[in-house]
């Protein structure tokens, strides 16, 4: 249990796992006749080599932080929320309604309102599966999957039939008015004199995501509610013994989880697209599962995993721009990263433990 020092567990193991994933990915790239070294260089350069690259990396990371936190919070109560996709979709609807239907003089006012709406819509979409789980015992994995499909159908209906401006091809709302446009990292960092790419979509939502990480951390490890969530997650009989009410905690946890997923919409809908399009979530809800699991359900881990995935997305986009590597290969690389860092970590840990044990024996 205490064979490996914590720093090695937190740094060395993910690092070696990433190296393994990278080696295997290089093998695949070689197999389709491309140059893996150049590809890695391009990915790293494209994603991290410029403020422009960072701007995209952080933009994607912001999405994954929200959905990852949503999964992580629920997981502490041992609720497996697969519904991030649907909740984020509904969050987008909330943002769109707020941004389009009210005259906003300035984003400072629009942002809290949009966040509230996004959170509320996401929470509502999580509340029904939560209630069914808590009261009727319907398995939350099924109900949240079903609610993803139902959410997609609902949004499709609204965008095609109700919210689409007349004559527009695109099943999307009209552009949000300028009063709702969020400042980008370019604008924000410009205030303190740091130059940052103007073109990248990373915006103030990233800072809010960072704030969400801190809040979730405090919620889980510093508040009574978090204490009760974790207790219930570890043992329901013990929780009941301590006077913790499972139904209440399940509901609260899922509401928070759904609200977090919903809040993703301030980044992609309000911050980037500035209108609501079909399928705006683009699988970020599912990536959130991988992010949460890889981040060991800890907000800081979630942040790191989200940035890793942001890197893979943006690096992958650069590859797609400048090479003939097909975009599905990026998916393969993501899969290998998830596999090695998330599921095969013991493959690295076990030999490492041996090394540390012999080192210690020699030291002693």
């Amino acid at each position: 249990m205490d064979v490996i020092p914590r720093w090695a567990d937190v740094i060395l193991i993910p690092l070696f796992s990433l190296v393994l994933a990278a080696l295997l990915s290089a093998g695949v790239i070689l197999a389709i006749g491309e140059d893996p070294v150049a590809a890695v260089k391009m990915m790293v350069n494209g994603a991290l080599g410029s403020t422009y690259g960072w701007g995209y990396t952080l933009y994607y990371a912001t999405n994954f932080v929200f959905t990852g936190l949503a999964v992580a919070v629920a997981f502490h109560a041992r609720l497996f929320n697969i519904g991030g996709e649907g909740q984020a979709t509904l969050g987008g609807l909330g943002v769109a309604l707020v941004c389009l239907d009210l005259p906003w003089p300035h984003w400072i006012l629009a942002l809290p309102a949009a966040m509230a709406a996004a959170g509320l819509f996401g929470a509502v979409w999580a509340a029904i599966p939560a209630w069914l789980q808590a009261r009727r015992g319907s398995h939350i994995v099924i109900t949240t999957i079903m609610f993803n499909f139902i959410g997609a159908a609902l949004l499709n209906y609204l965008l095609v039939n109700v919210m689409r401006p007349d004559g527009a091809m695109d099943p999307a709302t009209r552009k949000f008015p300028p009063g709702t446009h969020l400042p980008t990292l370019h604008d924000i960092l410009g205030l303190v004199g740091v130059p940052f790419s103007k073109a990248a979509p990373a915006n103030i939502s990233f800072l809010i995501a960072l704030g969400a990480c801190v809040l979730v951390w405090a919620l889980i490890w510093r508040t009574r509610l978090g204490f009760q969530i974790r207790a219930l997650g570890h043992s329901e009989p013990a929780a009941v013994y301590a006077g913790i009410r499972p139904v209440r905690i399940v509901m609260l946890t899922m509401l928070i989880s759904g609200a977090l997923a919903g809040c993703m919409a301030i980044n992609n809908v309000m911050g980037e697209a500035e209108r609501l399009v079909l399928n705006s979530v683009e699988g970020a809800g599912f990536i959130g599962i991988a992010v949460a699991l890889m981040g060991r359900n800890h907000p800081f881990g979630v942040l790191l995993a989200a940035i890793l995935f942001g890197f893979l997305y943006q690096g992958g986009a650069e590859l797609a721009l400048w090479t003939n590597i097909p975009r599905e290969l990026i998916v393969v690389i993501q899969a290998l990263v998830i596999l090695f860092t998330g599921a095969l970590d013991n493959m690295v840990r076990i030999p490492l433990e041996r090394i540390f044990l012999t080192l210690r024996k020699r030291g002693a």
């Binding site: 064979v3 405090a218 204490f227 207790a231 043992s235 013990a238 009941v240 006077g243």
Partner: protein, 515 residues
Amino acid sequence: MEQHRPPDPAIELKGISKAFGSVQANKGIDLRVMPGTIHGIIGENGAGKSTLMSILYGFYKADAGEVFIHGQRTRIPDSQAAIRAGIGMVFQHFKLVQNFTVLENVILGAEDGRRLRPELFRARGALKRLAEDYELIVDPDAKIEDLGVGMQQRVEILKALYRQADILILDEPTGVLTPAEADHLFRILDNLRAEGKTILLITHKLREIMAITDTVSVMRRGEMTATVNTAETSPEHLAELMVGRKVLLRVDKPLATPGKTVLEVEDLRVTDSAGVARLKGISLNVRAGEILGIAGVAGNGQSHLLEVLGGIRPATGTVRVNGAPIDLSGRCSDGQSRRARGVAHVPEDRQREGLIMEFAAWENMAFGYHHAPAYQKNALLMDNAAIRADTVTKMGHFDIRPPNPNLAARNFSGGNQQKLVLAREIEQHPDLLVVGQPTRGVDIGAIEFIHQRIVALRDAGKAVLLVSVELEEILSLSDRVAVMFDGRIMGERQAAQTDEKELGLLMAGMHGGAD
């Protein structure tokens, strides 16, 4: 150690060592057990007894050392090898499949054919014979989850015998048994010994060691410190060997000076989810400065009584604490409101209910008291530093080892886990302590300590309601004893004026003398 030449020892261990990470659980252990004998092994919690037995059974792999079975050097890489070598083991925590029937559990892994039906048929016959031979009577078609622990243990023994074990290891078999069940078990062990089988028995109860074993070994901190013939030793001596100091085997307590009534229970009734009446009109009261012991064979409603008082289970009837009634409907009253009313509850099952095994000691110290004002930094946040400091203090009071508040509950020994729960509940200075099976599976050093603390609480003028299946414990701790049978109180006695025999009759549902 005396050196018989023939016959070969049934079991001989040489230099067995085993480390878990940095914990050295067994250090160069040697052991010889003669065939046809019952060999006891004692030692404090965490001394390494279970580890050693698990190695012998192939469940763990030893880092070093050799095993000889009937003089033959035997490698035991897995349980299958152990079974082949004729070893059977009844683990401290049973290894049964809860939703399988007895029969299915017995044949699991010992099936000869690929199809199940003939196997089940054969096993049914074998079980019938075993039942006749050893009084091991169980319903072969009952689901394990519906059986009491005593029955589950029989299934474990049957599993070993069905595999024709001639060496049987029992790890704390009586920890969860009622006295009657324990007596039954010892009769069976006697029979097995008479048949020439060899038995290794781990227990914390010196009385059992004295009653049934031929030889006994003592373990301390991973080492085998002594092996003696039972006939040549005494409980006091063994206790000293085990703990390294003199241990009081009886509780010395001053006379009680009961004050006002703290707990009044009237006509308490509970029906469980299956619709079975579990409490059928319980009335009792406990006064400040006294310990009321509830005796009874497990399954007669004591657990339900504890759960109702602890706020886990709704009931009908009246319960008053310090004169004010508490809500029993389960709607607006739960564990939280009980605690607010000065009721502390030590549950029977520390691992399932009393602790969150993954939580650190300090988190467990706040468990159930997470709303306590002393533990809050402000309206939003808990004051973890304060909780940690408080935990260190309480760990000191209760001599919990290791005194590390950051260690997860899982990593404390059973005795220390129990002390964690007791420290948490007792140190709240409740008006009423409701406590179930306070010393189950705990070594004698810790038992002594726990008993002292419960008495100290009484002497501080608090009321204690104690539920235990250990009659000895009930008799030595309580001031008054109530006996439960079939959801009713069969009778109440002053502890000083009764004995195990009289209580035993009441526990069996027979009214003895005047009430």
